[in-house]
């Protein structure tokens, strides 16, 4: 193959397309609608190209690469390479990037966003291109450049509605934490590059240029650096602030794809770039995953801001993804190549699934927020009648994220259970035998709590009577916003029905990773999967779906008579009049779990009565949970940094002579250091 048909040309073409459309959009900035179309349309086309490239790499198994720009005088070459791991993440990017761009066409035309839509659309395009480069970079320089570009573009997008103080704070927090993380990455990469004597991933990440304690230190640096981006607890505090603050289509992209760059980094560097993983690494990742999954969903349960709730669920799902990676690494460190493949496949499958259903949920939430003018679910309600399509798609996403069968979330969680139980079955090590069932129980708890959370989120948002003005006047979103949701909802179903097809692709990805050897028996045709050879377990979702459909037919036949004459009556209000005020609230719905897990939440409540003690005119009630990490980890840290800055103010006296003296002292000490070291 050659010329335009050569997949190697598609990535540069996609990037060039993005650049061109960004230029065009900037030129048209005075006409927001045209500018929007230019940036987002170009982004769609570029994503199509990227998706096609990723598909062809996954289908043929051949990595493609090339150089984007080279400077002969300095010998600097910015090159890229798309292997199967990169291709998987690029596919996720394309699959979500296209519907989000289309949704943005409608979404950005409303309210305060309309004036800023050229800015948001261009920012979106830059962000897409940067993430694309992160996944495709094959050297330290290109990777870190793209990484920084991604962080900056993302921070700018978070600050879109910068009139709101909270938004500015969220953007600042995001920037600050991201830069600490980037610092960790710089340190880690420089240590590796110095040891390997090269900046290219092929040298730096081929096995371990460092060993012993330095290898552990490098692992921890990367874990922290990538962990911040992925939102792993306890490095997550920026995530529930930044995701809700951004416009909803950007939130969808952030949750679906951008945080996955952290996961990609963990795969590329921590798991498969530093030589055979130490047993402790897998355990550490498992622990991070378990903590993130359970605490993420527990905190999500207490949120009444729809987008914040979804943001905490991103933390939960990152936890689930890490549980898979941790299981894979633990298996890998004890040389169980086939078992490792199950964990890796579960993890990567969930990366795809989470992008699809979380993208869908954020897009749905965006429509709801736009229609009601609020993010607070206690002010919503009754939207199923006013926005029937949005409600249906949101329900599909809710069921998928809760890991319920017939949808995609179930398949990846099924595979993860297999990684734990099959691994348990096959493993002689005591550690694995202890950890894997514990992780399995945590996963069961997580998905059951997620189901409870989405019963609350969906029920309170969409059902019963509207609780506020905005909800009562809400209208359905335009088709340009509904069509992408329909597509993603359909993907939730499709990805849940053809697991064999998806796993076939993943088997290739897993096989390309050092030390992992997936069993061919994992895929049993288009529709059936299994954890490995033998009869441990298998799953054929279409048969389950068929059984449910048949049984639903039975239910329909039994209640057929009901279809004829249904009487409608008001809900019994216990003698009073039923109104939105008597409905069960989201706070009340999650109250039992708040009391049961009070050791984690440490709730405080405050009841105030106004008026006479026995006949109060008004009762005010306030319940809060303790932001444990913010208060006990980041509070002291921030105070420490500020105190140190206060002390260091002394040397910044404002005198030019003093500054010159510092420079001279620095140069002299560097020269001395060089002379001393030889």
């Amino acid at each position: 193959m050659s010329g335009a048909l050569d997949p190697a040309a598609w990535l540069p073409a996609a990037l060039a397309l993005r650049l061109g459309s960004i230029g065009l959009a900037l030129g048209l900035a005075r006409r927001p609608a045209a500018s929007r179309w230019a940036a987002l349309g170009g982004s769609c086309l570029a994503s199509l190209l990227t998706g096609a490239l990723a598909w062809s790499v996954l289908a043929t198994g051949r990595a493609v690469g090339g150089s984007l720009l080279s400077h002969t005088a300095s010998g600097f070459v910015l090159s890229y390479s798309v292997d199967r791991l990169s291709a998987w993440f690029l596919l996720v990017l394309a699959l979500l990037g296209i519907p989000i761009a289309m949704y943005s066409l409608g979404y950005l035309g409303h309210g305060i966003l309309a004036r800023r839509s050229p800015f948001v659309a261009v920012g979106f395009s830059v962000l897409m291109g940067a993430v694309e480069m992160v996944f495709a970079a094959d050297g330290i320089v290109g990777f870190l450049f793209a990484w920084e570009l991604m962080t900056l573009a993302n921070a700018a997008l978070v600050a879109t509605e910068h009139e709101v103080g909270e938004t500015r704070r969220a953007a600042f927090l995001y920037l600050a934490m991201s830069h600490v993380a980037t610092g960790c990455l710089f340190a880690g990469f420089l240590i590796l590059a110095a040891a390997a004597g090269s900046f290219s991933f092929t040298h730096v990440l081929a096995g371990a240029p460092v060993s012993g304690a330095r290898r552990h230190a490098v692992f921890l640096l990367f874990l922290a650096g990538f962990g911040v981006k992925a939102g792993v607890i306890p490095l997550h505090v920026w995530l529930p602030e930044a995701h809700p603050a951004a416009p909803s289509s950007i939130s969808a992209l952030m949750s679906g794809v951008v945080i996955k760059t952290g996961i990609y980094g963990l795969f590329r560097v921590c798991a498969f770039g530093l030589g055979p993983p130490h047993p402790g690494w897998g355990v550490l990742i498992l622990a991070c995953g378990g903590v993130s999954a359970v605490l993420g969903v527990l905190y999500a349960l207490m949120q009444h801001d729809l987008k914040r709730l979804l943001a905490y669920h991103s933390i939960e799902n990152i936890g689930i993804i890490l549980l898979g990676l941790g299981a894979g690494m633990t298996a890998l460190s004890s040389g169980r190549a086939e078992l490792a493949a199950v964990g890796i496949a579960a993890s990567l499958y969930h990366v795809l699934n989470h992008a699809v259903f979380k993208g869908l949920l954020f897009l749905g939430a965006g429509g709801v927020v736009m229609a009601t003018g609020t993010r607070h679910i206690e002010d919503m309600g009754g939207l199923a009648k006013r926005m029937p399509w949005t409600a249906l798609f949101f329900l599909v996403g809710s069921a998928a994220i809760s890991g319920l069968p017939l949808l995609n979330g179930f398949v990846s969680e099924w595979l993860l259970f297999q990684a734990f139980l099959f691994g348990f079955q096959r493993s002689p090590e005591a550690l694995v035998r202890f950890l894997f069932p514990v992780a399995g129980a945590l996963l069961a708890l997580t998905s059951a709590l997620a189901a409870a959370c989405f019963v609350k989120a969906f029920g309170v948002t969409f059902l019963a009577l509207p609780r506020g003005e905005g909800a009562a006047k809400a209208h359905e979103s335009p088709w340009v916003m509904l069509a992408p949701q329909a597509f993603l909802a359909a993907m939730c179903v499709v990805l849940g029905l053809v697991p064999g097809f998806v796993l076939e692709g993943l088997r290739g990805v897993a096989a390309s990773l050092p030390g992992v050897r997936p069993a061919p028996e994992m895929v049993r045709g288009l529709f059936a999967i299994a954890p490995g050879p033998g009869r441990f377990d298998h799953l054929t979702p279409p048969l389950v779906a068929l059984a449910v459909v048949l049984a639903a037919g039975l239910a329909g036949a039994l209640s057929l008579r009901a279809g004829y004459r249904v009487r409608r009556a008001p809900t019994w209000g216990c003698g009073g009049e039923l109104s939105a005020r008597t409905e069960y609230t989201a706070t009340a719905f999650s109250k039992p779990l708040m009391m049961i897990f009070s050791a984690i939440y440490r709730p405080t409540r405050e009841v105030q009565t106004v008026g006479a003690a026995y006949f109060p005119r008004e009762v005010r009630y306030r319940a809060e949970i303790e932001p444990t990490f913010e208060r006990f980890v980041y509070g002291p840290l921030t105070r420490g940094v500020l105190a140190a800055a206060e002390r260091m103010k002394v040397i910044q006296a404002g005198s030019l002579h003093a500054y010159l003296a510092y420079v001279i002292a620095l140069v002299v000490s560097l020269v001395l250091l060089l002379w001393w070291r030889g």
Partner: protein, 325 residues
Amino acid sequence: MSGWTHVASSTPLSLARSFAFGLLQAAVLLAVAPLLRGVIKKMKAAFQTRQGPPLLQGYYDLAKLLRKEPVRSETASWVFVAGPRIYFATAVAATMLVPVLFAGAPLEQAGGILVLVGLLALGRFTLAIASLDTGSPFGGMGGSREMTVAALAEPALMLGLFTVALWAGSLNLGDLVRTTAQRGPSGHPSELLAAAALFIVLLAEAGRVPVDNPATHLELTMIHEAMVLEYAGPDLALVEWASALKELLFMTLLVNLFLPLGLAASAAPGAIAVSGALYAGKVFFLAVAVTLVESTNAKLRFFRVPELMALSLGLGFLALAIRFL
């Protein structure tokens, strides 16, 4: 009727046969389920020296409800209508994954324990969502409590099932039962612990005392009943029937996992008769146990339920630990 070779080689004809078998088994269980509730009610009444309702009262109720005019709230949307239907459908589909009279499940090529648990969770999820649809605070209260109890019961349920499954070397219920039946009960203490753990989960999932009280309509105590309070007529019939089926399903699971004696290996009438009689006996024994617990205990305060579930979870861990660590 074995595992995965079946998947690879399943023809449309064999699939159709599996589904026919599955629907037949579901129909049998659907037919028996209300009787089980009747038996338990009768025994409970005997404990309280009452006469109790007739054994067949459950059937009379269902027949009446199915004929009645459905009344639905003006506030409710399509979600309210879908709830009972999906709840019923998932419960029926779940029965096809469970071995009842035979040493194999009709639809075992579809999946195993995880699919079973997932289907029941899906049913609960839809019904709990539907409970919020009428705007009545009772629905929300019931839905909230049901999801809370379910969230706590799920890890315990999984651990209990895993203990049995890992010992048999398969998460597929058909394979599992065949292996255990071949080996015979080991009498290992871990099996007793796992059975105890699952028995506690059974009480929670079936809405029995000490977790929930199926005989009350007092708002402070009810869980499941509050969730379905707004249903009437055929909608209510579907919910009631599916709940009875779920209870029978859990009991079947418990007796066939721990005592897979006399399961029929073929469709010979003699084998089926023996297996049917043994099955009835085993389920009756379990029903007696449920009645005893229900008659001699008071319902726990809702916030004491987590302790019970923690006990079940602990038993599950212990069962796993003493067998495998």
